[in-house]
Structures are given as C-alpha cells and as structure tokens.
Symmetry: C2
Subunit: 144 residues, 2 copies
Amino acid sequence: MSAMRKKSGKEHMETTGAKVRAAGLRPTRQRIALAGLLFRNEDRHVTAEALHEEAAKAGVRVSLATVYNTLHQFTQAGLLNEVVVDSGCAYFDTNIGEHQHFYVEENGELIDIPGETISVSNVPAPPKGMAVDRVDVVVRIKRA
Amino acid sequence: MSAMRKKSGKEHMETTGAKVRAAGLRPTRQRIALAGLLFRNEDRHVTAEALHEEAAKAGVRVSLATVYNTLHQFTQAGLLNEVVVDSGCAYFDTNIGEHQHFYVEENGELIDIPGETISVSNVPAPPKGMAVDRVDVVVRIKRA
DNA sequence: ATTTGTGCAAATCGTTTGCATCTGA
DNA sequence: TCAGATGCAAACGATTTGCACAAAT
C-alpha cells in the first residue's frame, strides 16, 4: 500500500466512488466529496470540524452534521478508524491497519507509528466472559 | 502501598488534610471532603459527575463546578491521573503509579492493570525536539 | 484584611437529533 | 417512485467561566 503509485485525479474519483459503494453506502455527492478529501493521501488524521472547513475551502457544500454522520458511517464501514487521545475531541484516521500514534499534546497533532514497530507483550487475560477488542497505545510527547 | 494497613477514620482525615496541604492547595472543607472520598480506598476511577453524586450522598455540599476544579487541581498537583479512554467523558484515577487499563466499552468501566504487567517495547524516538511524556495503553474489551 | 476558593447560572464546545426537503437508484 | 440522505436549527451532555459571596491564612 505504501508503495502504491500516485493515482490520477480521474482514477482517484473512480476508486473513491467505488470505495463508498463497496462500503454499502449510497455514493452521494457529499459522501464522494468527503471520501475524495479523506483518501487522497495515504494517511490523514482529521476532526469533524477540520474536515468540514477543508470541504468548505474546496468548494464543497456540506453541513457539519453531515460530516459527522459521514465520518461515523465510514468508521462503521471500516473505511476509517476512530482514535481516542483526548476527551472532548474525536479524531478519525484513514489508516485502518494496526498501528499506533504519537500525540503532540501541545497542538493536538497525531503522528502514525507503523504497526510493526511497537510491541506490546504480557497483556493479561481479560475478566471472565470478556475478550480483547483491541489494544491502543498512545505515546504522548511534548517539547523537550 | 498495597500492603498498607487499614487507616482509622481519624487518621485518614489527617492524612487527607496533609495530602491537600502538601499539594500546595488550601485545605478547604470541600477539597478535604473530596479527597476523603477519593483516597479512602486504594484505587478509584471516577468521573466528575459520579464524584459529585457520591459527595451529595455522603452529605457533602459541593457544586459540580467545584468538583471539576478540584479534580483538575488534584491532577495538576500529581494526586490524580487523568485517563483518556473516551472522547466526551474524562476519568480520574487515584492510582498515580505507572499502570495501564482495561476499558469495558459496553459500560464505561475501567479496570487497573498493574504497572509491571504489560511491557511496551520498541517505542520509536519522537520527532526532533520532542520527548516522550508518557505511554498510555488501553486494552478495550467487550463481551466474548 | 487579604487572598484564595466557592456556588450558581450562564456560556461554551463538541456532538447528536428531529424534521422538512431533496436526491440517487 | 420512494427509501434513503441532507441541511438546518434546536437539543444535548460534558465542561468552563464570570462574578458576587464566603472562608482560610
């Protein structure tokens, strides 16, 4: 995936529409536009607010409510991952593979750490009747 | 610390007042009362809302705003740790040692994992000029 | 007395929802 | 056509703030 060649604009739109359709969602104007913004580059970390602004700047008319709906729909469809690093602000990550994050507390920036890098061992067994859903690692960093 | 004997009520109040004073905070009625509730047992995970209710039930008159203020002051003073597991709900942990958590997504319950249990290795170096503040691991679990 | 904390209610922030309208298949 | 999506504004829950009052040193 990381060695994939740059996609042409046209091709990108096509794969974008296909992506939305494949997720079982109707490829509406705004979903395609948002998917276009989200999946243009390899890895993106966005908040609803930020994506809404970005869409506005790109000349796409979408309401903030629709941005929220779309982000959640994409997440449910497995196109996005939600990253929890801050109470009171939801981040969405276009990298859906297993990986971890640096979190710059100062400005709220997220930086990917490739999935094979960090290893977490000796995770204890969860209580009876429970199963591990996923293990999240957040490396909080600050100015040295 | 875990082998410490049960404290008597009186003794507990004294250590509680001392704790607040030692943190550089004026030992006011409500701070002492909240500290009393928080540090009575070894490990507690509370939300502001929950602590507020608990205080009310214990007959302590405190406003929710003051609970928020106090929790943040205690956190800044190093008496509490803030645990981020959910956008939109802040948890405070009386266990300030290095340790990790199970998070039961279904009901928002937090369960401590002792600090020596999990080991995280190969954390990459942070970007130039940045230093690791802390590494948080959250093991999200659900009904099997 | 002076400084610091408190309570309340209103303000704010991020997010969700209800409902009338629009749109893609 | 018509289920499904959108926009808007209002509702919402968690958290914060402003300011008059109260309590600690």
